[in-house]
Amino acid sequence: MTTRWFGAPVQRVEDDRLLRGHGRFTDDIGEGALECCFVRSPYAHARIRSIDVSEARSALGVVAVYTAADLPFGGVDLPLLIPHPNLTHGRTQRCLASEVVRYAGEAVAFVVAESRYAAEDAAELVQVEYDPLPVVITPEVAARAEHLVHDDVAGNVAAEMLQEVGDLDAAMVTAPHRKRLRFRYERGAASPLEGRAVWAQWSAAEHKLTVYDSTQSPTSIRGGLAVLFGLPESNVEVIAPDVGGGFGPKIMLFYPDEVLVPYAAMQLGRPVKWTEDRQEHFTAVNQERGQVHEVEVGFDGDGRIVALSDDFIHDGGAYTPYGIILPIITAAQVPGPYRVPNYRVRFRDVYTNATPTSPYRGAGRPHACFVMERTLDAIASELGVDRVEVRRRNLIQPDEFPYAVGVAWQDGNRVVYDSGNYPELLDRALEMLGPRPGGDHVGMGLAIYVEGTGVGPYEGAHVQVLVSGKVVAATGIPSQGQAHATVWAQVVADELGVDVKDVEITSGDTRRFPWGVGTFASRGAVTAGNAMHIAAGMVAAKAKQIAADHLEASPADLELVDGRVRVKGSPDRGMPLAAVAVLSNPVRYAFGGGTEAATQFASKPRPGPPLQGGEQPGLEATGYYSPPGSTWASGCHAAYVRVDPKTFRLEILKYVVVHDCGRVINPLVL
């Protein structure tokens, strides 16, 4: 493989249409669709005494109003996506609540009308009688369990997990110094600029459901809808068109609308669409980050950590559709880039009467980093040692890899760091940061992290050289601005020796590629990128095989350069890749484009059937990449911040980031 494009600062192919306003985000799709809105609970916890939609049903422009009673799946709990043996009391919500609402924003009724305006007018006519119940807000209150979020979940505890590496008690007791610390991390919301949106159409003639969804996993949505509606998967198409930011909440599945909008489309015989507004995003789209950590750290006189115990409560929200991935990640990432020879971590995932939690940018890692970094600062303060020096003394060294941390990871494996140079990250960050600016009230912020990424199970790619010589490639995972179409094109272009402009990538469209997991946890380049590499490599090998016969050379003597397959050292002996694509498909009927060369009276390079030994027509291949485990990126952030002692206003004077992402595919889009 010639590395012409890999590592090059290629300008994005995505930009032109987005800049011209020709992006196609889900709400941009009209096609005469009916529009919807939800009636949502204003109460964080309440029993529903009655729901009256009669007035709403007869409002102007209203086509249908649904409550749980109107749905054949009204009593079905939405899927629990990631089961885990420790999740002993997992709960998921239903599409529409009918008995109890457990967070403000939980959906109670679904209105379908000719316009969103009419739908909202009708939603105001829906009468719901609530009996408010005691509200459990904050993880601390939840853990005290004076009131329950779910009647059948004692203590509000959905899951509890304890892990230990080494012998924590013995090490702590003998540690020269000990300190107890408490850390509290507040909830946050992702707030992508594009809210969530779904558009669906049912074709009775083709018995086919087509859904556009601003989602991070079209393949999962497709699978779920097929199961729920009893349709063959091949009759369900899900496409993530342009998506205006995901950041985690769009990897959560299934929001009620992802089921109700397709259902309404199937019932009403017209396309149906729903787009959330910003108010809904703040309450009805998953959030995360709420955690409370009780830490005890044992350390020696040099500030080296001897033992660390972390007992934390994770705010799971009202339901646990995403399982306990978040606290598992936090528990795994607290040690970060540091040596923690004796580590005990226990978490309780508790229910609260708040929006359910699932990954948001960082997905449990930021909290872990916060805990460890602040603990190190406390150690430094206690001993009067420089904060940077304390970190240096605890960092895992470059010659210690692979480094087994000893705790569970989110992919079912254990955490084993594969590579890194943490001291170098720190040194470079400090060098970039430079000397402290003059003036009063200036502080330095510092944090070093390890980021488990590139998680499996797999991703796949299909790559094909067309008879025109252009290359098309597709993968199952969608994009939300990561420049996938550019960087994957770079990977493929290098394998096939073509110009990056001649490679067109499609992503997140189950019609083009139906297998895959999703775009989250910074895994796209590693998983789909590697799949693209594998598939393109298979195509290159096939091209050489076919060309070898025609060029009377051995495949090993051939190379793919500038859109041609040619003999190494004799560049004039070659043929265009387009011609190879033609020859890959033996035809009876030439239809132009050079296909005459592949007909039966043209010269035959070898005896025997046109396709032999398992060969398939077409210069194409499908490849998959399934990582053995996560790979471990790392980085260091450092900043100088000034605080105004009177107004307490913060001013960020300088902020630097050093991040080890492995080999950079495109430095322009870092």
Partner: protein, 165 residues
């Protein structure tokens, strides 16, 4: 009302927002909706040359005025407008959802301040939110756009990334 130079009638329903009218009645979906209360900037269009929030105008209010949306900056096939070009060169967009709003705001900013100081750049883009880029590249794009828009076309190339040594 004129939208990108073409005459259109306002909608019958006076409560229809200009943002919805442009997107769903006129099919100009380049203008995006992010908050419907004037905070995020995604819906920014030019009204008689000045940037305004289309989510804070009733469509009927645009009657007798000229509205320009992002689609009106460069016709299909023609080169990008200097502001669009600058955003491309400086990698100032990722998902692209906030981008039309930024572009229209910057067009308005440069009309008012053809050579904005860093302070004026920050003031000029402070009304637009982006959740992808972190704004550093957008700042660079505004300065680059000023260069590209100036009659003496900027000779320096697209600005490099800060700290990328």
């Amino acid at each position: 009302m004129k939208v990108n130079g073409v005459e259109h009638s306002p909608p019958a329903d006076p409560r229809r927002l200009l943002s919805d009218h442009l997107r769903h009645d006129l099919g100009l979906t380049g203008t995006h909706v992010g908050c419907e209360h004037g905070v995020c900037g995604c819906c920014t269009v030019l009204l008689d040359g000045a940037p305004v929030r289309s989510c804070l105008m009733l469509a009927v209010q645009a009657e007798g005025h000229e509205v320009k949306t992002v689609e009106g900056l460069a016709r299909d096939g023609s080169p990008l407008h200097p502001v669009q070009q600058a955003f491309h060169e400086c990698h100032a967009l990722q998902c692209g959802f906030c981008t039309p709003g930024f572009v229209m705001s910057v067009v308005g900013l440069l009309a008012q301040h053809p050579h904005p100081s860093p302070q004026e750049v920050d003031e000029g883009i402070a009304g637009n939110l982006c959740r992808c880029t972190g704004y550093a590249s957008i700042r660079r794009a505004v300065s680059r756009a000023a260069e590209l828009s100036s009659p003496l076309v900027g000779k320096s190339g697209p600005q490099g990334r800060d700290g990328a040594r």
